[in-house]
Amino acid sequence: MKILVCISHVPDTTSKINFTDNDTKFDTNGVQFVINPNDEFGLTRAMWFKEKQGATVDIINVGGPETEPTLRKALAIGADSAIRINTEALDGYQVAKELSAVAKEGNYDLIIAGRESIDYNGGMVPGMLANLIGASFVNTCISLEVDGETATAIREIDGGKETVSAKLPLVIGGQKGLVEESDLRIPNMRGIMMARKKPLEVKEPQGAEIETKAVSFEKPAPKGEVKLVSPDNLDELINLLHNEAKVI
């Protein structure tokens, strides 16, 4: 089985979010970048396919040279080779189009992406990619098994889950559940050494059109002080929720 895992390079979840250049750019100062958490679950699931059923695992990112440490980390976790499409990722549609060229060329059986990236929160790349290459697509995927040409997946839906089957090639938008937190792998020394020697190919972009563009950013308005209510005066809390906040 040939697997491609899409890796988006995002600020660590503890990052303070700030902007520069008149609020038009994300301020990367002091920010640590990591593999998007949804992609890390997917990458680990791909490792299991490799170990249990036999598979090659390529990883791919659309981004500048600054994303390479993130790709090396994914290689250290166990991916076989990496591809970086050398262009700034500005829009999910653009990213999906850039990915689709490589995805078609590589004839992958399975493409694992994340439900959403925690920076742009687009939730759009995997579905667009699937449509562009004519592959099956399962979103919010929390379990995945492949048997021959057929995949069985569980998808999270509002208030439950749904089991579906699909023919390969398949693209998923994955998340926790594919594997659990405790299954995630921290690269060890040997993995890190090996990762240095694994291929990381830089490809030039197709030059896909930018269809949507974040023109500026804004931080939420600062919140007022919390109103503290004494535990001995719970009627007051009910009164506030009913008459002031009007939520009960």
């Binding site: 509002d158 089957s165 269809e211 949507t212 931080k219 939420p220 503290l228």
Partner: protein
């Protein structure tokens, strides 16, 4: 030119978000001087959509669409958009809508903005405000394509009643086997329980509750308030509660009217996922817990004493207010 809006129903009944997306579409149509067309699939009635501003309802009745399949639904919407000549298509942020939106966008060669929280700031360039960095910020996104797909964030726009008499028209999209390439084998859905996605109120418990055996009082509060239950990540990681209840940056997003956090410290990853909720209440023994900085109302106290008392008070309140 009509603004097309997808109004979701379940077992024939419209979801509340259906009315919210119609209200929003009405707002855009007024800006653009055009009409609102709502697309429904297997809904029992269509007249209630007029009350929120739909001018026309395009109604599909098709047994093949009884179960949601993203490709088939996206294709039905694509065909309706083409028939209506729609330049703007509005969807909700339900799991199904988020599944089909990117497929639809590619079918229509449209730019797609998800998690949109307000009406467009301008029509040309077409710019919308959306959340980014998991609710830690917003961005203003310009959609440059001729056709635009908008995913509206839940609870961000609200319902606006404007009485219209919507005309109705039935529609048969042409669908083939390729639209059903994903076969739904089984659906496992909790019945008679409010889901986090639909809930107006969410009652959530953290590690401060000490163990799964103490969730009775959380469930009781949720029952009284007609709320959904949720939990912090460690609680689901330890198996005290199901994964489907994990909320936060790496779990489910919460955009309810009221979020009650009990025994939750308020770590940045937790807050990121629940910040879109309108009113937040925290109950925690530690006055230094970061949640107090994010909350609107707070009680410094022991959950095991406060919650049972609060439940009694809430019961009395509900009894005298219904």
């Amino acid at each position: 030119m009509s603004v097309l809006v997808f109004t979701e129903s379940e077992e024939g009944k419209f979801k509340k978000t259906a009315y919210e997306v119609v209200s929003y579409a009405r707002g855009i149509a007024d800006m653009m001087n055009t009409t609102v067309t709502a697309l429904t699939i297997n809904a029992d009635e269509t007249t209630s959509l007029g009350a929120y501003g739909a001018d026309k309802v395009v109604h599909i009745k098709n047994d093949k669409l009884a179960k949601f399949t993203a490709n088939a639904y996206a294709s039905a919407l694509t065909q309706a958009a083409q028939k209506e000549g729609s330049k703007v298509i509005v969807l909700s942020s339900s799991a199904n809508a988020k599944y089909l939106a990117p497929i639809l966008a590619v079918d229509l060669n449209a730019g797609y903005a998800s998690n949109v929280v307000a009406l467009p700031e301008s029509e040309s360039p077409f710019t919308v405000k959306r959340t980014a960095f998991t609710n830690k910020a917003f961005n203003h996104t310009e959609i440059k394509t001729d056709v635009k797909v908008i995913g509206l964030s839940k609870n961000s726009f609200g319902l606006k009643e404007v009485q219209k008499d919507a005309s109705e028209e039935s529609f048969e999209p042409s669908l083939d086997d390729s639209h059903f390439n994903i076969e739904v084998q089984s659906v496992d859905k909790v019945k008679d329980k409010v889901t986090i996605a639909d809930a107006e109120i969410v009652v959530s418990g953290g590690r401060g509750l000490k163990g799964p055996e103490n969730w009775g009082m959380i469930e009781e509060m949720a029952d009284i308030l007609g709320a959904a239950t949720a939990c912090s990540k460690p609680v689901s990681d330890m198996g005290w509660r199901p994964h489907s209840e994990h909320v936060g940056q790496t779990g489910k997003p919460v955009a309810s009217n009221l979020y009650i956090a009990i025994g939750i410290s308020g770590a940045i990853q937790h807050l990121a996922g629940i910040n879109a909720s309108k009113t937040k209440v925290v109950i925690n023994t530690d006055p230094e817990a970061p949640f107090f900085k994010a909350a609107d109302y707070g009680i410094v106290g022991d959950a095991f004493e406060v919650v049972p008392k609060l439940n009694e008070k809430l019961k009395e309140f509900k009894a005298s207010n219904s």
